[in-house]
Symmetry: C2
Subunit: 342 residues, 2 copies
């Protein structure tokens, strides 16, 4: 049982005025006598009065809460997105409700229900690697609740999106390997269903084509991002009759895992095999050798997506534009792809 929290009625009674007046004083309504306002504000302060958001939300039919669904929270990527989004939301007086889906479709679905029940004023989501059905998200469209995708988006839904140019970034990454003299470039790709995997794969293929390097399907393996499996694929690559001389990994955690495995096998990076990752995650600078990777403006993704949500919230759904904002990436070259190292 909670101790009674002080309400505007308490303040009103103590001051011998009506609760309407207290409410007006508290919300900066113009037509309140200065002395009255002063008295209210002082007493409120003294009593540690905190407006009950649950009541305000109910009457205003707004929750001043934005939902954020993240697929995982283990690497530094999504926490950083959350930071950016949270800061942006706080500026506008919004709080954020965060739910990790743990890369599990069912959890994602139940997360969206929680968001709906909590009447979030908007939601930004990055899909799990296994999400193929989007009914749970279409509910937001039907109900007219702002929805924004970030990072891992759904191409079939016409809603705003914040992404990076995965194709372009992958193309540049592979081009870098080619220009460094690599001929047999393997790609440890993400799940086939994940659009970002497809785009990065296409960037990889097109870069090879452009430089007249035949695409060898044996050098392309897509996997489900379960890091423990990386060792299997790396060994497979290394033990091929003609092993690859470079590896483009779908993301940094994969690349870092690959570096660990390759190093433990006694091979030299980049001499025997060059590695390029994707993400510039925490750790990519201090693993040895430093990981060449694509920098993704993570916090900016969060800020941008939240900004979109905030701008949608006061407009009619009819005025929402399903823009896709593409943020810039940059290839960061470190020791895993060029130079001596070690």
């Amino acid at each position: 049982m909670k101790h009674h929290q002080v309400t505007i009625l308490d303040i009103a009674r103590m001051l011998g005025i009506s609760k309407s007046t207290v409410s007006r004083a508290l919300t900066n309504h113009p037509r309140v006598k200065p002395e009255t306002r002063k008295a209210v504000l002082e007493l409120a302060e003294e009593l540690d009065y905190q407006p009950n958001m649950m009541a305000i939300n109910l009457v205003s039919n707004k929750s001043f809460t934005m939902g954020i669904i993240v697929p995982e929270f283990v690497t530094s990527f999504f926490p950083q997105v959350v930071i950016g989004a949270q800061q942006e939301a706080a500026k506008a007086g919004y709080t954020v409700l965060i739910s990790p889906s743990n890369e599990d479709y069912n959890t994602e679905v139940s997360n969206t229900k929680v968001m709906l029940a909590n009447r979030v004023d908007g939601m930004m989501i990055s899909l799990t690697k296994e999400t193929k059905n989007f009914d749970h998200l279409k509910i937001f469209q039907r109900k007219g609740i702002p929805l924004v995708f970030y990072n891992r988006v759904c191409s079939e839904m016409m809603v705003p999106k914040v992404v990076i140019d995965d194709y372009e970034a992958a193309y540049r990454a592979v081009e870098h390997l080619i220009k460094s003299g690599r001929k047999r470039i393997a790609h440890l790709a993400g799940p086939e269903g994940l659009p970002i995997s497809q785009k990065r794969l296409n960037g990889y293929k097109d870069a090879l084509k452009k430089y007249n390097i035949p695409i060898n399907e044996e050098l392309i393996i897509s996997y489900d991002l379960t890091l423990t499996k990386v060792a299997i694929y790396i060994r497979h690559f290394v033990n091929m009759p003609e092993p690859p001389d470079a590896l483009f990994a779908i993301n940094d955690p994969t690349a870092i895992e690959a570096i660990k495995v390759i190093t433990s096998m006694g091979l030299r990076i980049p001499q025997d095999i060059a590695i390029v990752g994707f993400g510039n995650n925490y750790g990519s600078d201090f693993i040895s050798p430093g990981l060449t990777t694509v920098n993704v403006p993570v916090q900016e993704i969060g800020r941008t997506a939240m900004g979109m949500l905030l701008s949608m919230v006061n407009k009619e759904p009819a005025q929402w534009k399903a823009v896709t904002k593409v943020l810039d990436t940059e290839l960061i070259v470190r020791g895993s792809s060029v130079g001596e190292s070690k």
Copy 2:
């Protein structure tokens, strides 16, 4: 303007019954005719009905939300705590409201106001490195809102806490260095005001005493955890007439930074200087050399703290016990303290 969300009144009207009956059907109240319940449930499903938590919260005077304040979100430590806490909360039907204080006292204070305004049913907090005044937290005690400290706690407040034995863990870490033959062990400590810094420092000192190694204050530097400053202190240590042969760092990010600096100076780890960190953060296994460090059960901290909150929420404040739960740590020995490496 949001599209009208379906309410129990809508369902009641469409079915020609009263909203109380709908409410009862939805909340599994026993005395509802099976057919009625079935009709309600089916219609609710069909209409995508979601109970409005804002209304439920208002009437129940509970928010089914637990607040979590984290000092930072950059390293893997706190996101992991959040994961654990979130999972535990979800099991009990609670959501979590997360606010990063970014190691800033004022942000922490305003975060607590947000928590109060949102009427969280409880809150777990890890203090910023600069928090010295606790008035904003005492409000929770006064109002009878469950409060639990985790990791960075406030010793002067009698509330439940979840910690690890920082003293013991630090003692073991330093003992390990001593037993590995190190004589001049430096300590890059945390802010003096932070209790965990003090405890780790004491563990460090007592280990030295125990093995009859004189404590040399010149080898102890406390700093404000701003990673960019690590290089300065490391260079200072290395350039001493008699440089240390080992370094015990307050946490892994510091230790990792130290490894980077030391390696860039051309010194060998652990031959020239051994390093031990604290936390077993993401990256400590793949930096080269691997970092010897203290494993902290991060998710378990989150789960335990949330569990305490959950158990408090239905009890009278008078029955709350200010227990301090100490979780076990373990020293993980890697290449930065023993062996050849590189």
